[in-house]
Amino acid sequence: MSNVNDDMQKRVLQEVTEAAWRRRLTSDELARVRQHLAAHPEAGAEWESDLALTRALNRLPAAPVSSNFTALVLQAARKTPAPRGWWHQLDDWFPEGWRPRLALGTAMVCLSLLTIREYQTLQRQRMARELVGSLASNQPVDWLKNFETIKSFDRVQVADKELLEVLQ
């Protein structure tokens, strides 16, 4: 049970330590640290050195920035082309009024493709109808009457030896 408590306290202290790296601690956080350090005085040295480092880093002065820094940035920004999205950058490549033209062109191409596809489908249907019609009307069905007999030739299992000898 005490191990669980210790782990929890360590975790809380870790969170407070990480907070102390960045900002001033709240009174609640300070109370938690005091509580932990009272129970674990051996952790005091580590806490103190950590805090000392934070103080040291906080005392590093801010780098001086030239008073005309913003002016210089704006001056350089004005020299560069105005920022635009890639869609607007296409204006550089195409003549004026290209957008409605592109839209109209795209619509016409789509309509043409649809018409061609529809025409091809109708053509195929017409050709199929014609083929079926011509087969039904022009071809006699007599050529099919010996179909079963001819097909049975394939099923002969034993060779006709007499016939083979005569043929040889």
């Binding site: 990480e18 102390a20 790296w21 960045r22 900002r23 001033r24 601690l25 300070l30 640290v33 005091r34 350090l37 009272a38 005085p41 005091g44 806490w47 103190e48 050195s49 950590d50 805090l51 000392a52 480092l53 934070t54 103080r55 040291a56 880093l57 906080n58 005392r59 590093l60 002065p61 801010a62 780098a63 001086p64 920035v65 030239s66 008073s67 005309n68 820094f69 913003t70 210089l72 940035v73 704006l74 350089a76 920004a77 004005r78 560069t80 105005a82 920022p83 635009r84 999205g85 890639w86 607007h88 950058q89």
Partner: protein, 212 residues
């Protein structure tokens, strides 16, 4: 729950629509943290300013591609990180060249105007200067990723989650990186941290004597 819009993102969207005043506000707000970051990473004030200008110009040029998917601070610090690491790599390849030699408008460097900053009394100035130098040396000796993590950790604009995003690491990896860097710094600065030279005023975060 409705999310509060990032005011910087709002400024950025205005700037994207051609409002240069909005861009100016962003530069005003972020110039100090970006110059600080560059200065602590490179320890060269002139180059820190040049690189900070490069960062803002990249922001300006990338406005068209900007979408409010991340906080603006995370976005600009990510750009700053790339610019900074590129410069460190460039320096390691061409150690003698200054960045100003590679910039088109090098006359800008001569037109910078600095205001007078905080002044120290002579002994205080000496102590402050020496200690600052020791810290800077200890920072310089850190691997660049650890140094960047420690410097970003001092930025009020970024949470740990956002620092992790800038560094392109997980949250736990970021905290671990900062922890390792701080352990190294503590070791290197041990004699200075123990002298009590860093004793803060009574308003400091935690009165140690009371809690121990």
């Amino acid at each position: 729950m409705a999310q509060t819009p990032d005011p910087d993102a709002t400024l950025m969207l205005r700037a994207k629509d051609g409002d240069l005043r909005a861009f100016e506000e962003l530069v005003e707000k972020y110039k100090q943290p970006i110059v600080n970051l560059m200065f602590r990473m490179l320890h060269d004030l002139a180059e820190a300013e040049d690189l900070a200008q490069t960062v803002f110009l990249k922001v300006y040029q990338s406005m068209g591609r900007y979408h409010v998917s991340a906080k603006f601070s995370t976005w600009i610090f990510t750009i700053a990180r790339h610019v900074c690491l590129n410069e460190i790599r460039r320096r390691s390849r061409h150690p003698s060249e200054s960045i100003e030699a590679t910039l088109p408008d090098s006359e800008e460097a001569t037109t910078r105007q600095y205001e007078d900053h905080k002044t120290f009394t002579p002994p205080e100035a000496f102590l402050q200067g020496e200690l600052e130098q020791k810290i800077q040396e200890a920072l310089d000796a850190l691997p660049e990723k650890q140094r960047l993590a420690v410097v970003l950790c001092r930025q009020d604009e970024l949470s740990y989650e956002e620092i992790a995003e800038v560094l392109e690491l997980s949250l736990s990896a970021t905290k671990s990186l900062i922890h390792r860097a701080r352990e190294t710094l503590k070791l290197r600065l041990k004699p200075y941290l123990q002298t009590g030279a860093w004793e803060e005023e009574a308003t400091e975060t935690l009165p140690l004597k009371r809690c121990l």
